[in-house]
């Protein structure tokens, strides 16, 4: 086990606490850089979605994980980014300009949402962000001169320095990866700056933060704006990846999916956003795979346990019928969310930390290390 001796505050806020980090993240980055030359085009496309979802996840983590302001309206910010890109692209605005414009507009609207949100906490904030998202969705459907309403908008392939970048080319993947990495590094830097510490202070106790001299209103608005801006950037990439956008893509469902990303990944660390994004994006191909292969596998197992060919065939068709039931995906989604909340509240990254600690302390690991405290005493209304 490695002991880190910290003798100065600078040691505590280093980006890479020890050389192991540099090596492991270096290897990860190298693997990601050679990925397009190794993986199939389908997996590459999924990887691009992982990058986009992870970027939104990081944005949501800044707001929900680190500032403690829940939002169920991030699909709206994504939509604002995507539509800004699509609209400006029609007038031949170059990519870097509309990329930044989308982020700026999204951030501005995020700040505007942040103002009313200042006085709201908990459930009231959740419902206010849902209302905001529903209003944006309706505006997108009705403001036909700009958004083409429910017909949706086509998004041309983006062109970088005059060279077109198709949405399934390695260059587009590198672009998404670059945005994700820059977002993560930027967020890490933000979180170890005074601003980030103010965010965490607000999350832990607003009253205590205020009494320490943190301007709560200012930092909440900042948090909303930063989070919305990053989501807007992700929206541009999202629009280009899908090459077609319409209002029904940016529903409450998508906002919930983003929350699930950070919930499953873990809300206390940026790793969570990436792990959660991998989980959410990969669950679809995994379920399809199960649907195709599960019936045969179960029939095979039944056959090895002495079932006759007729029974095995019967089992196979029954399982196949069950697997292709409408709505099975939603049920599995629901079960996954509930199971994570009940049994893995720290998310996938929390599980990784637990496993790591288990081996580091090998015979001495205590389960109670990660136990969260339950509070029965005060209601949140009075807190």
């Amino acid at each position: 086990m490695r002991f880190l001796f910290k003798t100065a505050y600078e040691d505590d806020i280093k980006l890479f606490p020890h050389s192991g980090y540099v090596v492991s993240y270096g290897i990860l980055l190298a693997l990601l850089l050679i990925a397009p030359f190794v993986l199939s085009s389908y997996l590459m496309s999924q990887l691009v979605f992982v990058c986009i979802y992870a970027t939104v996840g990081v944005a949501l983590l800044i707001l929900t994980g680190f500032t403690g302001q829940a939002s169920l309206g991030h699909a709206a910010f994504l939509a604002i980014g995507a539509y800004t890109a699509a609209y400006l692209q029609k007038y031949n605005v170059p990519f870097p300009v509309y990329f930044l414009a989308a982020g700026a507009l999204s951030g501005l609207i995020g700040a505007m949402v942040g103002f009313p949100a200042l006085r709201l906490t908990g459930i009231y904030l959740v419902i206010a962000t849902i209302s905001f998202a529903l209003i944006v969705e309706e505006i997108l459907a009705r403001w036909e001169s700009v958004t083409h309403g429910n017909e949706g908008m086509r998004v041309k392939a983006l062109s970088l320095l005059g060279v077109p970048v198709p949405r399934d080319s390695p260059t587009f993947y590198f672009l998404c990866l670059a945005v994700l990495v820059l977002t993560i590094v930027g967020t890490l830097n933000l979180l170890r700056s005074p601003t980030g510490r103010a965010f965490v202070a607000i999350r832990d106790s607003e009253t205590a933060a205020r009494s320490m001299g943190v301007n709560v209103a200012l930092y909440k608005v900042k948090s909303f704006a930063i989070s919305a801006a990053i989501t807007g950037f992700a929206g541009v990439l999202f629009a280009h990846k899908l090459s077609f956008i319409s209002p029904e893509m940016f529903t409450l469902q998508l906002s919930i999916e983003f929350i699930i990303v950070i919930l499953i990944g873990g809300t206390f660390s940026l790793h969570g956003a990436v792990l959660g994004a991998i989980f959410i994006v990969m669950i679809d191909p995994f379920l399809t795979y199960l649907k195709d292969d599960m019936p045969g596998m179960i029939a095979g197992i039944a056959a090895t346990f002495g079932a006759g060919p007729a029974t095995a065939g019967n089992i196979q068709s029954k399982v196949a019928a069950f697997a292709s039931l409408n709505g099975l995906k939603g049920a599995i989604y629901g079960i996954i969310i509930v199971l994570f909340v009940l049994f893995e509240p720290l998310g996938l990254y929390g599980r990784w930390l637990k496993i790591k600690l288990f081996f580091q302390l090998f015979p001495l690991y205590k389960r109670a290390t990660f136990k969260r405290q339950k509070i029965y005493v005060k209601s949140e209304r009075n807190r």
Partner: protein, 291 residues
Amino acid sequence: MLDFVQQLVSGVALGCVYGLIALGFVLVYKATEVVNFAQGDLMMLGGFFAFTFIGMMGLNYWIGFAGAVAAMALFGMLAERVVVRPILGYPQFSIIMATIGLGYFLRSIAGMIWGTDDLKIETPFSQGVLRMGSLVLAYDKLSVIAATMILCTLLYLFFNKTTLGTAMRASSENMLAAYYMGIPVKRVVSIVWAISAAVATCAGVLLAPITFIHSNVGLVLGLKAFPAAVLGGFGSIPGAVVGGVLIGVIESMAGFYLPEGWKDVAPYLVLLAVLLLKPEGLFGHHVRKKV
């Protein structure tokens, strides 16, 4: 003028529906501080249960209604035991997510069992209208208004006058202290979920002739009932109904007098405006923060 009154009445009827669902939200919130995002889906499930009893098994309407309410009360207890009890005492966000997950699950399961078609229950109120002068009121809408008023009064009395109601309010203020005072907090929470699922079922069955039942009805109406509960202050039973009626009236007025598209947005705009001016809703109490 007649148009206005007609819109007003249909808005009130619609609002009572929202209020009825919002009542379920408020009940659970009042007693356990849990915000149940699956309330609309409990309503949907209640409607399907009633459809099974009345439409498929051919039972009498009232017997089927009572059967559905009883079955859903048990289901509410089960949901509380499995999903909510293990995470009581954790931050609200986890519980919100757990109930969102429960909602997803119920919607898909209901879609698998009962299919995705619109179903209809034959009720004694399905046909017929009440004419008052030139004003026309359908019985199904009147039945919703009446049921909302009755349920609201009963629940209000229950919460404020009975021992069990007092126990519920106490455990919402401070579970630990309530437990020390000899209140069986677990059983109280369980009963609250049963009552709230039963109220949701009443809403589902009464709604059946108006909106039909399909697996997404809970999500659609739940999203409207939610602002109703918030508007009313989330902790207040009369507030939920008043909030629901406000939302319903705003919606039907906006649908009649404003251009297309405003109908769906107007309730949320009003909600945001109210939250800006009065963050605790119209009937909520303002509580000072303590460190």
